[in-house]
């Protein structure tokens, strides 16, 4: 039994789910109340972006999908919508990171901000594709700007967290 729990804990995506649940708790409580400039900050997008920045495009896409699926569970948007968008965002962040020759802290922040902003634009587009109306307007750009700026600030520590959570298990025992 203990062996199974250890195996589960060693799985990087299992760790990501646990981290994702923590982030989801913070997203639905404190960041739900704190709305600077009338915008709800999106740390779930930040987590997806950071996964891409930390472990590349493939892992970023899968991690983004898992994080998006967790977010879909508490939203009223169609299930799988955030998963698809966050997978794209994680993938884009990973691709962006691989294009930078020698990534620095500020290049990571820039990538984090850009990918988050793209996510905030893709989300209403995807929502519109599923039949929702009245969402695609100029406000989306404002949301993307604010979320991008905020996520840039938090991208470095979140990337470190993702780097830890998505570490491949090492056979030391």
């Amino acid at each position: 039994m203990i062996e199974r729990i250890l195996l589960f804990a060693e799985n990087r995506y299992a760790r990501l789910v646990l981290v994702g649940l923590m982030f989801l708790g913070v997203q639905t409580t404190v960041f739900n109340d704190m709305r600077p400039f009338g915008v709800c900050l999106q740390i779930m997008v930040l987590l997806a972006v950071s996964a891409g920045l930390a472990r590349g495009s493939d892992t970023g896409a899968i991690a983004g999908f898992i994080i998006g699926l967790l977010y879909d569970m508490v939203l009223t948007t169609p299930m799988g919508l955030c998963a698809a968008v966050f997978a794209m965002v994680g993938y884009l962040a990973g691709i962006g990171q691989s294009l930078v020759y020698a990534p620095t802290w500020w290049s990571r922040m820039l990538l984090g901000a850009g990918a988050s902003a793209i996510g905030m634009i893709l989300l209403p587009i995807a929502f519109t594709l599923t039949g929702a109306t009245g969402i695609l307007n100029a406000h989306v750009l404002w949301v993307a700007l604010i979320v991008g700026l905020f996520n840039a600030v938090l991208s470095i520590p979140t990337e470190r967290l993702c780097r830890w959570a998505l570490t491949e298990p090492v056979a030391v025992r």
Binding site: D58, M73, T76, G80, A132
Partner: protein, 371 residues
């Protein structure tokens, strides 16, 4: 490299396919998706509650920094409002009761006859693109999808998802919200100035009349009745002893105008508020909802700012008639036969919701017919 590309391509394809399948299943109302969401809610609720407790000081600090001035202003405004409303509440309650009695006497449905369930708002949507709140009552209370939700001020939305002990309410401002409404256009007031003597002064408004009669020291045969400063809402006041009576021709139709030298506001003839139906649509949290499909009828006239908006009701409407929604804040006129678009200021403050009431109302078209 070929293997790597193949793996990557396969992973992306799988993720895309899974997303499409999930979206399709959810949009077709799959019970599996509903069950999964419900089960996740059960697991996630304790985590959320614990996080809420831990992060409350952060939230409070943030609110203290950003909203302190607003709260002080709001407090002053509410104190004024409470003082203003205390008097009018009593008469309003009496009027509502009378109206409900009249409706029930005539066999018409009233809100008082609809069972309701009280709930508390426990959270709002963390998304920037949907306006929903979560309440702590669900199917155990008899709630069903589509039921209207109100607070003390008026309509706030409708139920869109129901679980065992919680429900999701789509707010009026959500772009997906639509409801049939009535616009009650107030008849335009006419103002007449009648030159006359100095006393008494009479002011008449479209709905009530306040008459100040000259003070006289006269005794009457009616116990408890002291002639003098009398406030009346009737248009047929008997002349009091000592009262100056003018010839009927000078008074005109402005009963109980009697006699005045001040401005008198009188509704034209027997005009009653005119009603026209339209469709209320949400436009997101940053913009007021609008009412479309108002017919451009000469009889209805131009819609006035401040005209009340109430639910229209009807066999297929999800809300019963005459629930207060708000008032017209802006009128956008359009050319030709296109009716105006009305911007609506909601009566309820959607940013500060606490206790709400869900009317256990189902339209006649959706009721299960008993054999």
């Amino acid at each position: 490299m070929a293997d790597f590309s193949f793996t990557r391509r396969r992973a992306i394809l799988l993720l895309s396919l899974t997303s499409v399948i999930l979206i399709t299943m959810d949009m077709r109302g799959s019970s599996v998706i509903n069950f999964t969401r419900s089960a996740f809610g059960v697991v996630f609720r304790p985590i959320e509650s614990a996080t809420k407790v831990v992060t409350r000081p952060i939230g409070n600090a943030w609110n203290g920094i950003t909203h302190y001035n607003d709260v002080v202003k709001e407090n002053h405004r509410l104190n004024d409002l409470v003082a203003f409303n205390e008097g009018s509440t009593i008469s309003a309650i009496a009027s509502v009761r009378e109206a409900q009695e009249l409706l029930s006497l005539n066999g018409l449905p009233t809100l008082a006859g609809i069972a309701s369930c009280t709930a508390q708002v426990v959270g709002q949507s963390p998304s920037n693109f949907t306006q929903t709140v979560e309440i702590n009552r669900g199917s155990e209370c008899g709630l069903k999808v589509g039921m209207p939700v109100l607070n003390a001020a008026g309509m706030i939305g409708k139920i869109t998802d129901v679980y065992n002990k919680r429900s999701v309410v789509m707010l009026l401002t959500d772009p997906g919200y639509s409801l049939a409404v009535k616009v009650v256009n107030l008849p335009p007031p006419t103002t007449t100035t009648i030159p006359s003597g100095n006393e008494p002064t009479v002011t008449t408004t479209t709905s009530t009349t306040t008459t100040t009669l000259p003070k006289v020291t006269t005794t009457t045969g009616i116990p408890g009745f002291v002639p003098g400063n009398t406030v009346a809402t009737s248009s047929t006041l008997a002349p009091l002893p000592g009262e100056v009576t003018l010839p009927p021709g000078d008074v005109g139709p402005n009963q109980p105008g009697k006699s005045t030298n001040s401005q008198i506001t009188v509704p034209p003839g027997l005009d009653v508020p005119l009603r026209e139906t339209g469709a209320l649509e949400g436009r997101g949290i940053s913009r007021n909802p609008i009412v479309r499909f108002i017919e451009n009828q000469p009889r209805f006239g131009a819609v006035r700012i401040g005209a009340p908006i109430i639910s229209a009701g009807g066999a297929t409407s999800l809300a019963p008639p005459d629930i207060v929604i708000g008032s017209v804040s802006r009128v956008v006129n359009r050319t030709g036969t296109l009716g105006p678009i009305l911007e609506v200021t909601l009566a309820a403050n959607l940013k500060n919701l606490n206790f709400v009431r869900i009317l256990l109302y189902q339209p006649t078209s959706e009721r299960v017919k008993t054999p």
